[in-house]
């Protein structure tokens, strides 16, 4: 029988509360009710995610620094699921992303008249999958989390099923995702064949043993190939070059709140999994994978920024920008592997938190400009926004400055932490590419500013309306981006609890 920790239910309270809410939404979606009643499901989702956020914070506060609690142990005595500072920090980011997505969804679902209970069900189950991805410590548990998340997000990407771009983007995402998931299992089978285990701690011990007895040559091709194949799947989920093609199409086609969600939470979950697998499991092979991932990081930062410069659709531009930001976060991961310290991990966690606020805010502004018959995602939709809605134009500047890494916004601090971790690990080339590509990114972020401030909008354009939930979410994101930038210490301390290594 699998062994549960005596405090299993308390330690995993965010997960089971989330599952209860998800199941409730599923049952409610079967009821033939009015749109007003469907809206109540949204309010319940908001409440549910707020409760889970508090539970995550509570569990994190109850853990002492560096503590790892095995909450689920398998038949073979190997730990499958753990609760530690790392998992709790990442869970917090996922739930925060979902909470803001729900807030932003009210306007979208109203305008599109697309209220259904399933929307919130899949959102909830996607977050549940992400939590397993952050807590899993064996390759198969992680895969279960990955698939729970991915299947829910495929459905959400195709939510506007009567709109062709939505279906096309979601189909591409699904088919490529299914292939990458198969690759993950193939990689896992090769690793299992080579090491005799799928548990990350045991894989690490097996690797140390091999290296101690036979040196690097003892690693063997099957194990190295298994790791590369496994990485491909995760590079795909995190939308890193050269596995990023699905991103612009899927982001452009999906409902804007879902695009915002996809660009933040699943990406953070993929990074949690990448960190867990590479740093907790494959650290002895760091000299091998840091080289490979450095190349991926350089390509991602360069290609994401260059491609974003060519876009006229703001959603596509933000999609490419999200690819570039994944490249920045990857620098932190490589730094963690190279210097074998927790600094890079904390930098990634902090960056992903900051990125959640600034990117959700930017997508929220696209949503603000949405009206019946127009998605509000063209560059021209931003023309003369300063005259139509000065407050929103200023908020957009906050988000764009933050995305570009300009002080005193939070994005600057996020990039600075990544930059320092790269310097600390002597990754000078990565640090230089990060700095140069950040400067390049200013071009396309300031293009939006140019449209908002210097271009005259059409006279017959109506003043957009935010609605209370979207207005609140934009205001909160704006405050967070400024507050973290001006006083980041508590947030840096929070991120430093994401510890995977013993020192």
């Amino acid at each position: 029988m699998p062994v549960l920790h005596p405090e299993f239910w308390r330690l995993l309270s965010p997960e089971w509360v989330l599952v209860c809410f998800g199941t409730l939404f599923l049952l409610l979606s079967a009821l033939p009710v009015t749109r007003g009643a469907r809206r109540a499901t949204g309010v319940m989702a908001l409440f549910g995610f707020a409760v889970v956020l508090v539970l995550c914070a509570q569990t994190l506060a109850a853990l002492s620094p560096g503590m790892h609690v095995a909450v689920l142990t398998g038949l073979d005595g190997q730990i499958g699921l753990t609760v530690d500072g790392f998992s709790q920090v990442f869970k917090f980011i996922f739930v925060l992303g979902a909470l803001f997505t729900v807030l932003m969804s009210f306007k979208y679902l109203d305008v599109e008249k697309a209220w259904t209970g399933e929307y919130f069900t899949f959102l909830t189950f996607a977050v549940f999958g992400m939590m397993v991805m952050a807590s899993g410590v064996d390759l198969l548990t992680l895969w279960v989390g990955l698939e729970t998340m991915a299947l829910s997000v495929y459905v959400l990407a195709a939510y506007m099923r009567r709109q062709e771009p939505s279906v096309e983007g979601a189909t591409k995402y699904f088919l490529l995702g299914a292939f990458s998931s198969g690759l993950y299992l193939y990689g896992t089978s090769l690793i299992y064949g080579a090491t005799g285990t799928v548990q990350l701690g045991s894989i690490r011990l097996a690797l140390l043993d091999r290296l101690a007895h036979g040196g690097p040559a003892a690693v063997g091709f099957p194990l190295a190939a298994g790791l590369v194949i496994l990485s491909v799947s995760l590079l795909f989920k995190a939308a890193l070059v050269p596995f990023h093609w699905w991103t612009p199409d899927a982001y452009e086609g999906a409902a804007t709140p879902i695009t915002a969600f996809m660009s933040v939470a699943p990406k953070a979950a993929a990074f949690a999994m990448l960190l867990r697998i590479f740093v907790a499991g494959f650290l002895p092979l760091a000299p091998m994978w840091t080289g490979l991932l450095s190349l991926v990081a350089i390509l991602t930062m360069a290609w994401g920024n260059i491609a974003a410069m060519l876009q006229n659709n703001v959603k596509r531009m933000l999609a490419y920008s999200s690819i570039a930001h994944a490249g920045y976060a990857l620098v932190g991961l490589v730094a963690a592997g190279k210097s074998q310290s927790n600094q890079g991990i904390a930098a990634v966690a902090f960056y992903l938190l900051v990125y959640a606020f600034m990117n959700l805010g930017a997508f929220g502004l696209v949503l603000y400009l949405q009206r019946e018959g127009s998605a509000g995602d063209q560059m021209d939709d931003f023309d003369g926004l300063i005259q139509r809605s000065p407050l929103m134009a200023v908020l957009m500047i906050f988000f764009l400055l933050s995305l570009g890494g300009i002080p005193p916004m939070a994005g600057f601090l996020g990039k600075l932490m990544i930059f320092y971790s790269a310097l600390d690990a002597h990754l000078y080339l990565l640090a230089v590419v990060l700095a140069v590509t950040s400067v390049i990114s200013l071009y396309y972020y300031f293009r939006v500013v140019y449209h908002m401030f210097l271009k005259e909008g059409a006279h017959n354009l109506p003043t957009p309306s935010a609605g209370r939930p979207l207005g609140w979410s934009l205001a909160l994101c704006g405050v967070a981006v400024l507050a973290i930038g001006l006083y980041g210490q508590p947030f840096l301390h929070w991120a430093s609890q994401a510890v995977l290594l013993g020192r």
Partner: protein
């Protein structure tokens, strides 16, 4: 009007192009390893790039299929 056989051809392409791209990438990586004595990094990088190429082909093919489907739909007047 696109016949079902022609449409099938697009999917059949995938059967050999997908694994073929991975094979070519890995093979080139292997040759690079032998030439530069960098084993196994060249092979692994070639394998990764081959996989990337295979995925790109799949992605491109899905786009072609979607556009053909849309064009056929317009032809049918539906």
């Amino acid at each position: 009007m696109v016949t079902p056989w022609r449409r099938l051809g697009v999917y059949l392409d995938l059967v050999y192009v997908f694994p073929g791209t991975i094979g070519v990438g890995t093979g080139l990586g292997y040759l690079a390893d032998r030439w530069l004595d960098t084993s196994p990094y060249g092979t692994l990088l070639g394998f990764l790039l081959g996989l990337s190429g295979a995925f790109w082909y799949l992605f491109r093919m899905l786009g072609i299929v979607a556009h053909r489907g849309r064009r056929d739909g317009e032809d049918d007047g539906s």
